[in-house]
């Protein structure tokens, strides 16, 4: 078995209930079917209930650790701005960042004790220049009639980084992971997300 093949590290972050895990399940199907070894790790239980949620997703010829090394992230996919900022130090200097432009207030901000951090997008652009893509996932999903689909909008945006994969590989994975009644909405969300990154 070849073991010096590159492993790609994708870090997904968001707030409990945003569908981080579902998004990572779609990635899992895509890269499994493409013949890669895949490992992903997430924390359940007390860590949910509106708390921050992260998933480490890794694929390559052979993957050992389920966790990504700090500072080794190739792709940061964040479903919320503050949860993107929280993991900015994890990204490699040449890493790529896809962020959903949405703010969900944490308790300290709700209670008026702290301000929601400003300029998160600017900070990302300062360090990562043209490798930052901000998507209005929630707005796109709202127009489609279900804000819950914002996660799949971001998956659509992310899919642009793998031109070697056909569109069906992604939509088949969505069908595999989601119940039939949700296919149409989420496949549309995927296409909208895929378009959102162009230009």
């Amino acid at each position: 078995m070849k073991e010096n093949g590159k492993v790609t590290n994708i870090f997904l972050s968001g707030v409990g209930g945003q569908g981080t895990i579902l998004a990572s399940n779609i990635l899992g199907e895509v890269f499994l079917k493409a013949g890669y070894d895949v490992k992903k790790s997430e924390v359940h239980g007390m860590a949910q209930r509106g708390g921050d949620v992260t998933t480490h997703f890794r694929f390559g010829e052979k993957v050992y650790s389920p966790l990504i090394k700090y500072g080794d992230v190739d792709f940061l996919i964040s479903f919320e701005l503050l949860e993107a900022a929280r993991y900015i130090n994890w990204v490699k200097p040449e890493g790529k960042i896809i962020i959903n432009r949405q703010e969900i207030l944490p308790p300290a901000v709700s209670l008026g004790q702290m301000a929601y951090p400003k300029d998160i997008e600017k900070t990302f652009k300062k360090y990562f220049k043209n490798s930052v893509w901000v998507v209005n996932g929630q707005e796109i999903a709202r127009k489609l009639g279900n804000i819950q689909a914002a996660n799949v909008v971001l998956v659509g945006a992310f899919s642009n980084f793998f031109p070697e994969f056909k569109e069906e590989q992604w939509t088949d994975a969505i069908k595999e992971v989601l119940a039939a009644k949700l296919h149409e909405l989420n496949i549309t969300a995927f296409h909208e997300g895929r378009k959102a990154l162009e230009g």
Binding site: E3, V15, G16, G28, E29, L32, D37, V38, K39, K40, S41, E42, V43, H44, G45, M46, A47, Q48, R49, G50, G51, D52, V63, Y64, S65, P66, L67, I68, K69, Y70, G71, L82, E83, A85, R86, I88, N89, W90, P93, L105, P106, P107, A108, V109, S110, L111, G112, M114, Y116, P117, T123, Y127, I147
Partner: protein, 606 residues
């Protein structure tokens, strides 16, 4: 066929392929999905047991009848199940019997961080430790074979980063066990552990562990050695091995699939093949201590690697880079200091019935003996309404015990609060104690109709089995009365004033009492239609009336936030800001409207 599976799903798959007939568990993160997954296989009887001790006892009975059985729990669950485990270790098994224990290094979702590997040496039973989902499946299968061959229960140790990690698994077919089903009265000396028989079994236990050690060396297929650069050799197991293999791929490795007994000859061989040995293990120096006791020199171990918290590839690298490669670990660039960002701790859901209940307790100024469940979130400010919490159902005895010290001075000041599932897990015994020994504690049972924290599992009070079949249902009032509690009240926690009134009366009573919440299903429990009882779909803040007093913020509702901005009410009261309700999150529970003194929370219109 290869499939992506979560570690827990793969353990269930392994049990199914091994021909398991009975599975029992009490849910607990990170173990809960094992039984939930196993319940999907039609060939297997599965159950949510009231607690882990019962789960192990049911599995043992199944084993004596010749069935392969599995019991699953989180690390602290094995403390509860330790009583049967330590003696089943003597009786041995008939059908293979596997106990899965899932540790939680880093305490993602647990009250402590105990290292379950100590049970294997303590209990004199073998323990296997998988690293990924494929091993979860394979190790579960072989655990049943080991158990039947050596007449022993087998521990399978998982942990958060194994149970909740997904990786590829090669699926196999189910193979039924060859063990004859049936009970045999002639086997009494083996299964009745009275001293005259258990002294005999005591000897068998020691003989067994010697045979198992020989097996670990000569036959067990998952202790594996990989000799690359021999200047340094790592001894490790489970996910710690994966981290180390990732960070230092060019060196040599001994990966232990069996935690206990250790393969002494294999370890000796490894020490011959490599120059220096580093032991990498999470939590306690279990291998390190044992290997040092064998007389070997361990170059590095817990002198460099933290014993507290979970490991990660980053921590392994930070701890060992200098020792292994002579150069210091270089930390990545800090772009934003994480400590400058607002934290995002978990919170009770919008509309949760625990929120008004704990608000009431806070207003009453009670010392709250709390417990394990979602409601432990009430400890966080601004609710700050929990003052002690230890382990499952400990609050009942705790509140009662405190009253024995404080006497009359404690009246009106103490209560015990726990959920329905937690109460059934271990609360009945201490409630009997409080009544029998004349305590005055008040026990509040927060009945939300499900085991909520771990993700909606049934229990004997929900009316459904794990297969979603209708079942008998505990009547908490009848139960409390049956153990002798004379004062049993019911409250609707969404009626804050009335609830406070009942609690005030009961905590001041010089006799044991029980208060049960009703009309309070978990907001995520769809079958109970929890939202239907709310009159309005959501509330909004009437800025004509809001004086910016911030009372609504005290309940820590995720839908309510503070909006800065000087202004005044319609009748001229100056204010610095107002409350604000996010209507996407509000479910209309009305609690904020009840506590607002200025009637500023008004129904919203869709």
């Amino acid at each position: 066929m290869k499939k992506i599976m979560q570690g827990n799903e793969a353990i269930a798959r392994g049990a199914w392929e091994a021909g398991v007939t009975v599975g029992c568990a009490y849910p607990g993160t990170p173990s809960s999905e094992i039984m939930a997954e196993l319940s999907k296989y039609k060939e297997i009887y599965t159950e949510w047991s009231p607690n882990e001790k019962v789960a192990v006892e049911v599995a043992h009975g199944a084993s004596l009848a010749g069935g392969r059985a599995i019991a699953c729990m989180k690390h602290v669950g094995l403390n509860v199940a330790a009583d049967p485990l330590m003696t089943i270790a003597y009786t041995g098994v008939k059908g293979g019997s596997v106990i899965v224990v899932a540790d939680d290094p880093g305490q993602h979702s647990s009250q402590n961080e105990q290292d379950s590997r100590h049970w294997t040496r303590f209990g004199k039973v073998p323990m296997l430790e998988p690293a990924d989902s494929e091993e979860c499946k394979d190790f579960t299968k072989i655990a049943f074979d080991i158990g039947e061959r050596f007449d022993t229960p087998v521990l399978l140790r998982s942990e958060t980063r194994v149970s909740h990690c997904d990786s590829l698994v090669e699926l196999g077919e189910r193979k039924e066990s060859m063990i004859q089903k049936g009970l045999d009265q002639k086997e009494t000396p083996k299964y009745v552990m009275v001293p005259m028989y258990s002294r005999v079994r005591r000897v068998a236990v020691e003989e067994r562990i010697i045979k198992l050690a020989a097996y670990a060396d000569a036959e067990f297929p998952y202790n594996s050695m990989e000799i690359n650069d021999p200047s340094i050799g790592f001894i490790s197991s489970g996910v710690s091995y994966l981290y180390t293999r990732e960070v230092f791929p060019r060196y040599s490795f001994l990966k232990l699939g069996m935690v206990w007994p250790l393969p002494r000859n294999t370890i000796a061989e490894f020490f011959k093949k490599v120059k220096k040995v580093i032991v990498v293990e999470e939590l306690d120096p279990f291998f390190e201590t044992e290997i040092k006791a064998m007389g070997y020199k361990v170059w590095h171990g817990k002198d460099l690697i933290p014993a507290i918290g979970e490991l990660s590839p980053s921590i392994v690298e930070q701890s060992l880079r200098k020792a292994v490669e002579g150069k210091h670990y270089k930390a990545p660039k800090i772009r934003i200091k994480p400590e400058d960002l607002p934290r995002r701790p978990p919170n009770l859901c919008a509309g949760c019935s625990h929120r008004p209940l704990f608000y009431a307790l806070k207003k009453l100024g009670l010392y709250v003996f709390g417990d394990i469940g979602c409601y432990a979130l009430a400890v966080a400010p601004p609710l700050s309404a929990m003052h002690a919490s230890t382990c499952m159902a400990a609050c009942v005895g705790g509140a009662y015990g405190a009253g024995k010290v404080l006497g009359k001075d404690g009246l009106g000041k103490i209560c015990a609060v726990l959920g329905d599932s937690t109460f059934l897990h271990g609360g009945i015994g201490p409630l009997m104690d409080a009544v029998y020994n004349k305590g005055y504690s008040t026990t509040l049972i927060l009945d939300n109709g499900i085991t909520a924290m771990t993700g909606q599992q049934e229990h004997p009070g929900t009316g459904y089995t794990i297969q979603n079949e209708p079942a008998s249902m505990i009547d908490y009032e009848q139960l409390a009365r049956a153990v002798g509690v004379k004062h049993v009240k019911k409250v609707d926690p969404y009626q804050v004033e009335e609830t406070m009134e009942v609690i005030r009366e009961e905590v001041n009573r010089d006799d044991a009492s029980v208060i049960i919440t009703e009309n309070s299903p978990c907001i995520l429990l769809r079958r109970a239609k929890p939202l239907e009882k709310f009159k309005n779909p959501f509330y909004v803040v009437d800025t004509d009336k809001c004086r910016g007093c911030k009372v609504c913020l005290e309940i820590n509702c995720p839908a309510i936030s503070w909006q800065e901005g000087a202004g005044q009410t319609k009748d001229g009261h100056k204010r610095k800001g107002t409350g604000f309700i996010n209507k996407d999150q509000c479910v209309g529970c009305e609690v904020c409207a009840q506590i607002c003194k200025f009637e500023a929370m008004i129904p919203g219109i869709k």
